[in-house]
């Protein structure tokens, strides 16, 4: 079933944090995504799946304004995104935490400074929040890695550091692009549990993954909606998930 406009609300009430209305995105004349209509309600948990190259990352990038739709209406936190308004985009990104598969850091800064980066760039005092920072590092299991530089971290540690960085500003939405792509099963379960915990705190979660086992594990613990991108558009995933 292809998703149509405003069909796909989560069960939780409230205005959509991200709203796609017949959105399309293409590059050099080739369509990558078409006819995307979706509302992501606050506090909902979504999985986005599909084959490699289907457009999952593109979809996430549209959500955090790294890309601009070539057609349609996209609202984030109720507002349109103007690509020229870089300050407004920065403000939106302070409300959206992003975790990439190839999580990037400032390699010359220790891990705790990287995690605290969103605080620094938003003008908040890191010193005032040092307790929260170390609590967060403890939560993601990195309290023993204080002072380590990002290149010294393992794949799993980098993913957890990226997650900690994504949530330190207590964002309303967390977008994760293949967060378990580079880690083993045990670590992926650990990351999933962290994301589920965040969702239980009221955060909106959207995870792009092709890891079906991860989706099944999540669905056993949380009410998650699974979306699938195929043939350049968004569909509800089958009941087998």
């Amino acid at each position: 079933m292809q998703l149509r406009q405003k069909q796909h609300r989560s069960g939780k009430a409230g205005r959509a944090v991200i709203e796609f209305n017949d959105v399309a995105y293409g590059y050099s004349g080739d369509a990558i995504l078409e006819n995307i209509s979706l509302e992501i309600a606050p506090g909902s948990f979504h999985f986005l799946t599909g084959p490699s190259g289907a457009g999952k990352t593109t979809f996430l990038k549209l959500c955090y304004a790294a890309l601009t739709p070539t057609r349609g209406d996209l609202r984030v936190f109720g507002g349109h995104i103007h690509p020229s308004n870089r300050t407004a985009i920065a403000m939106i990104r302070r409300r959206i935490g992003v975790v990439h598969q190839d999580c990037q850091f400032l390699d010359h800064l220790p891990v705790e400074d990287n995690i605290a980066l969103p605080l620094s760039v938003s003008g908040q005092s890191v010193a005032d929040q040092s307790e929260n920072l170390f609590e967060l590092m403890n939560w993601v299991g990195l309290s023993g890695r204080i002072g380590a530089l990002p290149p010294e971290l393992s794949g799993g540690e980098r993913q957890r550091a990226a997650l900690a960085r994504a949530v330190i500003m207590s964002p309303e939405v967390i977008l994760a692009d293949e967060p378990t792509g580079n880690v083993d099963w045990e670590m992926s379960q650990r990351l999933l549990r962290l994301l589920i915990e965040l969702n239980k705190m009221g955060k909106t979660i959207l995870i792009a993954t092709h890891d079906m086992a991860l989706i099944r594990a999540a669905k056993a613990e949380v009410q998650a909606r699974v979306l699938r991108i195929s043939n350049r558009t968004l569909h509800a995933a089958g009941a087998d998930l």
């Binding site: 955090y64 790294a66 690509p83 020229s84 308004n85 870089r86 300050t87 985009i89 920065a90 403000m91 990104r93 302070r94 992003v98 990037q104 850091f105 400032l106 010359h108 800064l109 400074d113 980066l117 969103p118 620094s120 760039v121 938003s122 890191v126 960085r165 500003m169």
Partner: protein, 302 residues
Amino acid sequence: MSISIFETLKSLWVGNKAADRIVPPSGFTVGLTLFSAAAMAFLAVFALAVALASGRLAQSWGDDLARASTLRISAPDGQQDVQTEAALRILSQTEGVSSARALDDDEVQALLEPWFGPDLPADKLTIPRLIEITQDGRGFDAQGLRLRLQAEVPGAVLDDHASWRTPLVKAATRLRVFGWFSILLISLTIASIVTLAANAALAANAQIIAVLRLVGATDSYIATAFIRRFTLRSLVGASLGTAAGFIAVMLMPSNAEAGAFLTGLGFKGWHWLVPILVPVLTACVAFIATYVASRRVLRRLA
């Protein structure tokens, strides 16, 4: 992209320890900017010295020498003193002449010494008598004076210095223009080098910019970090170069010692304060260059 120049200037002054750390401390642009700023500042100090000294020379040759003339009396033995006295009498009656005096033998010897050495046997040579004439503010009628001297003092030749003073004044004026033009070129060169270095640093740190944007950094925050880094680096480099230039100019022999034209190149009086502006202006140029470069690169990376 909205990068407020006033916010950036404020941040530049106040500083932001966290923002300062986001730009990696090392890289080839560090040495390049420091060295270029130092070298350009060194050259700028010399260009300033040339421009200011040329200005002084043009002033001196222009205004001061314009009020001075020389009367040369070449007469047979026995006639020189008579003709000199006659010339001095005429000069004392000439309107526009404030003073006139005959140079004594020692003064003439001193004038000839740079050309013939100290052992010139002046008493054995027939050397013309020289009368130094100083004009008052109105000046005298050179043509009228020549005609009168021609009639009454046949061995007198009036030299109002115009024949050699005019090209010298022109040369000094041109030299001053070249000096200031050199300073302009040096400023543009440092702007170009800083722009290239800032462009390279911004491009080399594209990943850092991507990470910062991902976590909600505004372009103003990112740009300020780079602008502050390059401005301070240029200020440090230019300060070192200016100090070196200052010392080099100080070490130049003074014109009092050698008495030659080139040794007058340097600073005098309040001109010694002018080179202090070089590091400040270099920092300003670096600020503007990095500001423009960061705007362009951040827009391209958007």
